[in-house]
């Protein structure tokens, strides 16, 4: 187990082992046969023309794996899906990143990829919401939109010629993320789904599962929809958002105060995600909510969620959940 060093006592070790063994028994037999390591030859039907995808190479007519992972076959395409590698981007992925640098007409973001991603100024909505050509004044005011170390949510637009990513943040749901926590987990634990933005009403929290393994848990922010035309364009709130955080008056600070309960919920959800990533289970909204319910039912404090006992409980719960889902399939 990576990440957290847990000191388990003897019974906890046995329980954890038993839970993990029962998990292994639920995985289908085809899965375990498909695991390969570097330089393993991949069984391929030679008569069909085989397309060699990522993670494979040709060695004297044999298809050989270049990474450790699981073989996936889609019609004629054979590729090896890695597990613990860096993020593999695809156009249209929702990602969360951190601003590293403010460069001429662009921001550079760190997104757990082999290079830094670029968010052009032209791919970002201006604060006043008008669609216009970016002038030199806009370029000088870039820092008022995003600064270094800001957390940003964006979408992958395309790949540049040198292999790095270009992002876009044109919709209202993208942009700077505030009042919350960013977590880093392995990208393979986050599956590509239709919905990556989750609004948890019962906790008042926004949860963004970035495809690059960066997860944002924060207080819910109402998204102003650009497309609705009969809403009057508010000028006063825009002026307020343009002011920097330092010069906020006392009333504004009261408005932006996050209540204690919301903050506790943010921490609870973040700890649930941390435990799941240490154990290596996939992270989806249902699983996270189940774990948070489990912790509140057991009456555990938030910091106890990172302890050994809760870790074992989560493993057992996951084993239960998978056994019930395989039984339902049958």
């Amino acid at each position: 187990m990576r990440g957290m060093e847990l000191s388990l006592n003897h019974t906890q070790k046995l329980r954890l082992q038993r839970a993990l063994e029962s998990l292994e028994s639920f995985s289908s037999a085809t899965n375990s046969n498909a695991s390969v390591t570097v330089a393993d030859s991949i069984p391929v039907n030679q008569e069909d023309g085989v397309l060699k995808g990522h993670g494979t190479t040709d060695l004297d007519g044999e298809v050989v794996a270049t990474v450790c992972g699981v073989i996936e076959r889609v019609n004629k395409l054979v590729y090896v899906r890695t597990l613990r590698a860096r993020y593999k981007p695809e156009v249209g992925d929702i990602i969360v990143g951190r601003v590293l640098e403010v460069a001429p007409k662009r921001w550079r973001l760190e997104i757990n990829f082999s290079q830094d991603a670029v968010l052009m100024l032209s791919s970002m909505n201006l604060p006043d919401g008008i669609q216009r050509r970016r002038t030199a004044v806009d370029e000088l005011n870039m820092r008022s939109i995003f600064e270094e170390n800001d957390v940003v949510c964006a979408e992958v637009r395309d790949f540049m010629r040198d292999g790095s990513l270009q992002l876009q943040a044109r919709s209202q749901k993208y942009g700077k993320l505030e009042k919350g926590q960013m977590l880093t987990i392995s990208p393979y634990l986050v599956k590509r789904r239709k919905q990556h933005f989750h609004h948890l009403e019962q906790y008042g929290i926004d949860l963004i599962l970035g495809c690059n393994g960066f997860i944002w848990v924060g207080e819910h922010v109402e998204i102003k929809d650009d497309m609705i035309e009969d809403e009057p364009t508010p000028t006063k709130p825009d002026a307020k958002s343009n002011k920097s955080q330092i010069s906020q008056s006392l009333e504004e600070q009261e408005q932006t105060y996050t209540p204690l309960e919301t903050r506790e919920n943010i921490c609870r959800i973040a700890n649930a995600i941390r435990v799941l990533s240490t154990l290596g289970f996939s992270i989806t909204l249902d699983v996270i909510l189940e774990i948070v319910d489990l912790s509140t039912k057991k009456g555990l404090d938030i910091h106890e969620m990172l302890g050994a006992e809760f870790c074992v409980l989560v493993a057992e719960k996951e084993a239960e959940r998978r056994s019930s889902s395989t039984q339902k399939k049958r």
């Binding site: 995985s27 390969v36 390591t37 393993d40 990474v67 450790c68 597990l83 860096r86 082999s114 289970f281």
Partner: protein, 241 residues
Amino acid sequence: MEYVSPEGLRLDGRRPMEMRQLRAELGAVSRADGSAVFEMGNTKVIAAVYGPREVQNRSQQMNDKALIRCEYTMANFSTGDRLRRPKGDRRSTEISLVIRQTMEACIMTHLMPRSQIDIFVQVLQADGGTRSACINAATLALADAGIPMCDLVTSCSAGYLNSTPLLDLNYVEDSAGGPDVTVGILPKLDKVTLLQMDAKLPMDIFENVMQLATEGCKAVANYIREVLLENTKQLENRRGV
């Protein structure tokens, strides 16, 4: 001094063609992209791989392939005497260069242009064969990080004492003054990427010793493959569908 007894046993009770016990563990450094601890008998080495990531020094950026950097250090407590070794001393620099060239031969750098891969190897316990253990640990760490390689690189050392080729020398046998041959191979492609020797050997005996070391490398390769396969299966099972 007798390094091989008349019954054919070495100082630590091994036979001449017997390797020391191997043990490997993945994921020791949680913040690194890939990491591994590799033990050959009493020699214990930890390797951490960071990358592929953005090149830190723009002037060294290569447009068509990845930049590989490697650093070899020995911990103060790794040898019998607690010595503070200066960072850039000649032996460390030489071994860093050797490991970098060995790994560069097998990493598919053209798949990750304009990026950088850092390999940090540190010796925790030194008992002979540290160079080989470092290369094996680096291979494990790179495979753990999911960096594409054309083949695993494994390495083993062999020597010649008391007219017997010995596999996998430990510190006492190494400091006996006899020849020490370190071989690094790509097991599947059956190619040699590293060949070093100190002291002199006649050609025919050298062939025997190198052949012995190559067989040792193949045994290490089998072990490493098993460890990686087990780790992959475990991760995939845990992740679920």
